[in-house]
């Protein structure tokens, strides 16, 4: 009898259980689930619309065609292209960080150096870096170096400008507080200016990634012998839409991954921003 009683209690408890798990899962991962749904929905539409004959797949391609093209490319030197583009991005972006961070700190801290360089930096920041490509190719040839240079220049200026802004945006009252305790400039630099610049620096890195990718693709499209951008140009010129899409998806995925990573970091350091800039 006791067992039966338990079973009744259990059966009464059970039906409540499954419907509660799903909403909880939904609530906790709503953003991620909706994001996945958005991408999935797009892929399904992209597959269906050409399959139903609404558009010509020769122009629009479709996920299955892209996948086939990717397999074919993978067996025929896609890795080499990825390696070339990856190197251009990796070396160029790393150089931009290595130069941009210390230079930004320096220019943000020393008023006179800032005044001296500000017009040049702003000019170079607002000029599309692609405009420098003809010159870079003249100087450095069509190999890796010219692309590394364009990636470097693309990423450098957003990083530089944001670090400078960060260094110059110290909470006014915090600064007065430090001074009231007799803080030296060196101490203010270490304890206030550097930490204040962290959120700005991350924003600069995020923008820099985008600009660096533009550099890789456009650089390779204009003049090169390899890389994803080169592959896409060749494929486009020979009417191989599927291959072009392989390139687009590779670049988009990489950009999305890196940006998401930096966004996470940014959220973590968001509270470091001065309350009243």
């Amino acid at each position: 009898m006791e067992n039966t009683g338990d079973a009744v209690a259990l059966s009464r408890a059970l039906p409540q259980h499954p419907p509660r798990v799903a909403p909880q899962l939904w609530k906790r991962h709503e953003h991620a689930l909706l994001s996945a749904l958005g991408v999935l929905g797009f892929l399904v539409l992209w597959e269906l619309v050409p399959a139903l004959g609404l558009v010509n797949p020769l122009f629009t391609s479709s996920p299955s065609r892209v996948l086939t093209a990717a397999r074919l490319l993978a067996a025929n030197g896609l890795w080499k292209d990825i390696l070339i583009s990856g190197t251009e991005f990796g070396v160029g972006f790393s150089l931009a960080v290595l130069v941009g961070l210390p230079l930004g700190v320096l220019l943000g801290w020393y008023r006179r150096w800032y005044a001296l360089s500000e017009p040049l930096i702003t000019m170079l920041y607002t000029t599309p870096r692609v405009a420098l490509l003809p010159l870079l190719i003249l100087w450095l040839g069509i190999g890796l170096t010219s692309k590394i240079a364009i990636v470097f220049l693309g990423a450098l200026f957003p990083i530089l400008i944001n670090v400078i802004t960060g260094m110059r945006t110290i909470d006014e009252t915090l600064l007065m507080c430090a001074r009231s305790f007799g803080a030296t400039d060196r101490k203010i630099f270490m304890t206030l200016a550097l930490p204040s610049s962290v959120p700005f620096t991350l924003a600069g890195l995020r923008i820099g990634v985008g600009r660096a990718l533009v550099g890789v693709v456009v650089g390779e499209m204009v003049a090169s012998t390899g890389g994803i951008g080169h592959m896409m140009t060749v494929a486009g010129a020979t009417f191989q839409t599927d291959k072009v899409f392989v390139g687009i998806i590779l670049i988009a995925s990489f950009g999305y991954a890196v940006t998401t990573l930096i966004n996470r970091l940014e959220r973590r350091f968001d509270s470091w921003r001065p309350q009243r800039p």
Binding site: L174, M176, A183, K187
Partner: protein, 266 residues
């Protein structure tokens, strides 16, 4: 000898936007005896905070001088510490890190600074929140940390710049009591700038009443109500009489102040 003496301090600054000069202080003289708590009240924009900044050594006056124990001072020094109107805590540091900040800037070792900071965190009633970050604290708690940071360097003169202006009314009354308790324990000389007349009477031994801009000291009133003061002290007829007196001293200023502010805005 007075702990602090401000002698005919005048400050003029230039408005950044309009480039027009503004006289903030005109010949302000004020003395604070050792262990004395002096409050400064005045209409908003009368230069109270500027006066405190001059005393802290953060603003250089165009005329006049500041003397500590009879010695003229021209910059910040470890015998003075300021409690700011906004808590001004570093968001990337814990309460402990923030309260140690002044000590570390003044050259204390990290270990010494942290152990001293713990003592003052306890004094202001923030025990248990040493490892909390400012964003995790309420406004009142942030102001406690702000207060502890100034107290931790054990200043001879504590400068309080409207430390309770940004907290809610209830917290404010509670914190007024706390400031009295802490001050009676530490017995620093203290200057409190406030725009609340009751707060000034409640906390101070003397209240200096300032005029509208350009600010100067209109009158100094002695508050000889017994300590510790409590809500009951506010019922004291003398408390009320002082309140009326200060109110009257400030009263004719108000329309002028509004006119002056309009003139500045336009």
């Amino acid at each position: 000898m007075a702990k602090l003496e401000a002698r005919s301090v005048s400050v003029e600054y230039v408005m950044t936007r309009t480039q027009s000069p503004v006289q903030a202080l005109r010949g302000v003289s004020l003395a604070v005896e050792p262990g004395e708590f002096v409050a400064v009240v005045g209409p908003s924009g009368c230069g109270k905070t500027t006066l405190l900044n001059v005393i802290a050594g953060l603003v250089r006056p165009q005329a006049g001088s500041i003397h500590l124990d009879g010695v003229a001072v021209t910059g910040p020094g470890r015998e003075r510490a300021m409690v700011f109107q906004s808590a001004a805590l570093m968001p990337w540091q814990t309460v402990l890190g923030n309260v140690s900040y002044g000590l570390e800037l003044q050259g204390a070792s990290r270990v010494a600074a942290r152990s001293q900071a713990r003592r003052f965190i306890e004094l202001v009633g923030l025990s248990g929140f040493e490892e909390s970050y400012p964003r995790e604290l309420s406004g009142g708690m942030q102001q406690r940390a702000n207060l502890a940071r100034a107290l931790a360097v054990e200043p001879e003169l504590l400068l309080l710049d409207e430390p309770l202006a940004a907290v809610d009314a209830q917290t404010r009354e509670y914190m007024q009591n706390e400031i009295q308790r802490i001050w009676m324990q530490t017995r620093h000389s203290a200057i409190l700038v406030t725009h609340q007349i009751r707060e000034a009477i409640y906390l101070a031994d003397r209240v200096a009443v300032m005029s509208a801009r350009p600010g100067h000291v209109k009158a100094v009133l002695s508050i000889d109500l017994p300590r510790p003061r409590s809500v009951a002290s506010m019922q004291d007829p003398r408390f009320h009489a002082l309140e009326v007196e200060i109110w009257t001293l400030l009263q004719p200023e108000s329309p002028y102040v509004d006119a002056a502010r309009c003139a500045v805005v336009n």
